[in-house]
Amino acid sequence: MPLLKIENLHTFYGHVHALKGINLEVEEGEIVTLIGANGAGKSTTLRTISGLVRPREGRIEFNGHLLNNVPAHQIVQMGISHVPEGRRIFTTLTVMENLMMGAYTIRDERVIQENLERVFTLFPRLAERKNQLGGTLSGGEQQMLTIGRALMARPRLLLLDEPSLGLAPMLVRAIFETIREINAGGTTILLVEQNARAALKIAHRAYVLETGRVVLSGPAHELMQDERVRKAYLGER
């Protein structure tokens, strides 16, 4: 049984039909990436899974539980953490307070300490800056903080929305390396990226979205060879 199973998912923003029947599966332990142009529905798919928007039709099943009507704050508790697009850290809270908000659903102080150590091992920079206000961090550090904050809940499934957006090339490489590391530690990842090349390189499988529909899917290394993908998303002629 897949960890996440999405069937015929339809989501609307007002009158805009953003998702038009998405089918998608993520197996435990995988990195799956969603690629596609702006407005294809990648972020909306993540937002529907994490409960920020409600689907009009279809099913989202996680670990055998139907998520359609579960409020966002309870979905976190079920094991899904969503890192939204655009480094939305709490700028007026310290780095430490940001991380503690990530662990909001956990009451066991020992588990929180364990998760904190893990995050600090992954991002030593955050440990150095733990008493600084989030707003004083650099762009790359803020991105580390959004990911670290999500990991504080120790999710089974991590939803990442454009983690490389607006970062310098060297930092992009570091972020993708970190994603692979997180996955190696046992966390399943659903990754949305504009940077299709880098995403396909670390992913096991990929789905290509166009205007709210899945138009192509398969193992990432196969899609990387696919002519349509190479032309449309990898910038080749």
């Binding site: 920020l52 976190v76 939305r88 709490f90 307070e97 908000m101 904050r149 809940a153």
Partner: protein, 301 residues
């Protein structure tokens, strides 16, 4: 000497403003909305306090300042209840309706709370029973004196403000409150039940406001149903002055407004105190439009 005396009086009145201003600023923090019904809730604190003390005195047979202790608790619980109820029926259904609808709803609740008070208690001035207020004065330096009531008022106000500060800046739920003030959506992604945090704010803000109502009622001795507007608006101005959305700002703004008003009345003219006080405040806002401690809000708007 007169300066010290005026300052003490100013701080006393300032602490009333601060307690009420905290309610405006906390609600603005999490909802970006001015809760115009807050003055009404504060006024209900004075009325409920009146009922409870009258009942207690009838029960015991004599009036003692000790009656204020259970009254304070009863008022806090009752007004916090009003706050949560108002949020549930008048604000939560309008959560996604933009900014204007909740504002109108708040004004409506303000009128409802005021009319209810007038209909239940009548339009005449109400007076707390004599004997409830501790008498006596303590000499400070030379001929500067502070009444026992003032000492108590200041102690209670500062204790409440210190507790609130510790709650908001040192606890898990308080931190979540600051997180919600910044970003509802990301707060939900952290597993924070945003509606519950907002309800908590409507428990604390009106709770403090209700206590302030009781304290103001007993300090001045008498009041009527216009207390909510007259006093509530001043506290609202104090919140703006300190930087709305900022908790230390509300405390500072309240103190400053109280002191400026008292100085204007004491040194210049009691008839002109409002004119002078508000001209000064307008000047402060010209140079610091976001209020004294309001940078964070400016960043967001």
């Amino acid at each position: 000497m007169q300066f010290l005396q005026q300052t003490i009086n100013g701080i006393t009145i300032g602490s009333f403003y601060a307690l009420v201003a905290l309610g405006y600023t906390m609600v603005y923090g999490v909802l970006k909305m001015i809760n115009f019904a807050h003055g009404g809730m504060f006024m209900w604190g004075a009325y409920i306090g009146l009922t409870v003390t009258t009942g207690l005195v009838a029960l015991v047979g004599y009036a003692s300042p000790w009656a204020l202790v259970p009254t304070l608790i009863a008022v806090m619980v009752a007004v916090a209840g009003i706050g949560v109820l108002v949020e549930r029926v008048a604000y939560r259904p309008l959560r996604t309706a933009g900014r204007l609808a909740p504002l109108i709803s708040a004004l409506g609740m303000a009128f409802i709370l005021e009319s209810l008070a007038r209909n239940v208690y009548g339009a005449s001035w109400k007076t707390y029973l004599p004997g409830l207020v501790p008498g006596g004065r303590v000499a400070l330096l030379g001929n500067v004196r502070i009444s026992v009531m003032q000492v108590l008022v200041l102690l209670v106000s500062f204790l409440l403000m210190a507790l609130l500060y510790l709650f908001v800046y040192r606890t898990r739920v308080g931190t979540a409150m600051r997180a919600v003030a910044q970003d509802h959506e990301v707060s939900r992604l952290m597993g924070i039940d945003v509606d519950r945090i907002i309800a908590t704010v409507f428990l604390i803000g009106p709770g403090l406001g209700g206590m302030a109502g009781l304290i103001v009622g007993t300090y001045y001795g008498s009041f009527d149903f216009t207390l909510g507007w007259s006093f509530g608006l001043r506290a609202f101005i104090a919140a703006i002055l300190g930087g709305i959305g900022n908790i230390p700002g509300a405390m500072l703004g309240g103190m400053l407004l109280g002191i400026v008003e008292t100085f204007a009345a004491g040194y210049i003219s009691p008839q002109w105190k409002d004119v002078i006080a508000y001209v000064i405040l307008i000047f402060i806002l010209i140079f610091r439009p976001t209020g004294l401690l309001g940078e964070r809000v400016a960043e967001k708007l």
